[in-house]
Symmetry: C2
Subunit: 88 residues, 2 copies
DNA sequence: GAAGGTTACGCACAACGTAAACATG
DNA sequence: CATGTTTACGTTGTGCGTAACCTTC
């Protein structure tokens, strides 16, 4: 799994709209949908209910998004720890 | 950045040997080295000192590996939360 | 019938293995 | 000179955009 896909899931959870979420990631809507599908298949659980007019988080989706935020925040710490020379 | 590369960094930190670490990930040693290089370039910091006979973690490498373990553990929680139906 | 999500197709880039080159003890 | 890491090169797979298709209000 790649981190960018996790970011896509979080963004879609915030926007609840594939088109806007895709624009925020500078990718086409078609590809964005495939990314979400891949994450869902990879995890073996549906994260979003989309009725072609309405996008909503499933219970599993809510749990995954919460964890995804934690992961992304920790990755941010990781990047910072790589550059900072120790502890000034 | 992809998660598999993070796992490679952690494995190399444990083995301190490119060949063995690569085998543990079922990839060639050549490709494994490129993965590590990419992570280092991506983070803008050298994580391992290799003198072609000795592999050792740099201070930045130690910090990054510690964070990487946290990220991977959190990702494990994420996967579990996706399948578990809620809380019986 | 218009807006929004999905599927099909094609191109381009990046992952990967093999093997040769280079470095160190 | 033997062990171990890096680089070069060719092949294969996958990411990605475009556009057509399906569904709902």
């Amino acid at each position: 799994m790649d981190v960018e896909s996790l970011r896509c899931v979080v963004t879609l959870a915030e926007e609840l709209h594939f088109g806007r979420a895709a624009q925020l990631h500078y990718v086409s809507a078609g590809h964005f949908g495939r990314r979400i599908q891949r994450v869902e298949r990879h995890l073996g659980a549906r994260l979003f209910d989309r009725t072609s007019r309405r996008v909503a988080l499933t219970p599993a989706g809510e749990r995954v998004v919460a964890h995804a935020r934690t992961v992304l925040a920790e990755l941010d710490e990781l990047r910072k720890s790589a550059v900072c020379p120790g502890r000034p």
